[in-house]
């Protein structure tokens, strides 16, 4: 039986691919400090006394 699509230039099938994308939780979760002495973006007045644990950016 002839395939009616012959000669119509079907594109080659490509199986789905999984691409791993790096997510940085210490940056994606709000509240992590930008510096040891300032909460959040550098320059914000901080009342927490520099207790933030990680650098956010």
């Amino acid at each position: 039986m002839k395939d009616g699509n012959e000669g119509k230039g079907k594109s080659t099938y490509q199986s789905p691919r999984v691409t791993a994308i790096s997510l940085r939780p210490e940056e994606a979760v709000l509240g992590h400090c930008k510096s040891p002495s300032s909460a959040g973006p550098v320059g914000a007045s901080c009342v927490t006394g520099g207790a933030c644990k990680t650098q956010g950016s």
Partner: protein, 303 residues
């Protein structure tokens, strides 16, 4: 225990004229507490507005003390805040090792159209700004996610006088501050932010908004600009721009935004919003060398 009399969604909003701030086209109305508590200070001057209908009504209260919210948190940021589910409300407790075990602040909200912020008078000074980071950013990003209105991204946004808006997304160390400084020296654009940008869609167009949550270069502007494309910064041996498929772009944008991980609803809305973003504008991986050539590549780039 929740203050069940504080049904902000149905009661009159404010007894007096609230202070108004606008970030990412989200208007916050702040009332209650003392005059110090509704005055954000000079660093937020550019985000103040004289009039407007608040999208989020914030009521400030001061308690003599606060004890930690009981029960297991729905999400622990690992930083200063945790969030708890209490019937139909969310309770955010903010605590710092520097101040002890008790929360220095608590934020209660049902659907982010109103919020009650309770300050611990025993731990905070009288002039403490109730919406100090990260409360302000949490409130606005959760509001945007809850209603599918936008997303905050990790990036630097600038407005070139001749070519319009440019957005460069990047993880820490990708080169956002370097890019900001390069552009500043070569083109002197208006910098919306060197670290945090809000994206919103309006009538089929993508717009970026400056925020007060700047990075080390300390740029913050309340301006906004239309975007025709998004660049995602990567270090590389040469200045090179590579188109990303929409699916790949959506993933890269998700990795560089601040979704509400405690909320399945907010996460779904965030992903759907990003899907709309990548369907609206093309996204490109931008490898760059920290020299003026990186600016020229972006300026002269065509889809």
């Amino acid at each position: 225990m929740l203050d069940e009399t504080a049904s902000f969604e149905t009661s009159p909003r404010f007894d007096s004229q609230p202070s108004l701030l606008c970030v990412g086209d989200v208007v916050l109305g702040i009332d209650g507490g003392s005059s110090h508590h509704t005055d954000p200070g000079s660093k937020l001057d550019v985000f103040r507005i004289a009039e407007g209908d608040p999208d989020i009504n914030v009521r400030i209260e001061v308690e003599e003390s606060l004890k930690p919210w009981s029960g297991e948190p729905a999400f622990d940021s690992g930083a200063v805040w945790k969030v708890f589910h209490e019937r139909d409300q969310l309770v955010f407790d903010f605590a710092s090792d520097a101040l002890g075990c008790d929360p220095y602040k608590r934020m209660q909200t049902r659907n982010f159209v109103s919020a009650q912020i309770i300050l611990n008078g025993d731990l905070l000074p009288d002039h403490a700004w109730p919406l100090e980071y990260p409360a302000d950013e949490l409130l606005i990003t959760n509001y945007l996610a809850h209603y599918g209105l936008g997303v905050e991204v990790h990036g630097c946004g600038l407005i070139d006088q001749e070519r319009g808006g440019f957005l460069f997304l990047g993880h820490s160390g990708a080169g956002k501050s370097t890019t900001t400084r390069l552009w500043k020296s070569v083109r002197d654009p208006e910098i919306l932010s060197d670290d945090r940008i809000i994206l919103r869609l309006h009538e089929g167009e993508l717009w970026m908004y400056g925020t007060p949550w700047h990075g080390e270069a300390a740029f913050a502007s309340a301006e906004k600009a239309k975007l025709n494309r998004i660049f995602i910064l990567q270090h590389g041996p040469d200045n090179e721009v590579t188109a990303l498929s929409p699916a790949r772009a959506a993933g890269e944008l998700f990795a560089r935004c601040f979704p509400p991980f405690h909320s399945a609803h907010g996460l779904q809305n965030t992903v759907e919003f990003l899907e709309r973003v990548v369907s609206t504008v093309p996204c490109y991986e931008s490898q760059f060398v920290p020299d003026n050539g990186a600016v020229e590549i972006a300026l002269n780039f065509h889809d």
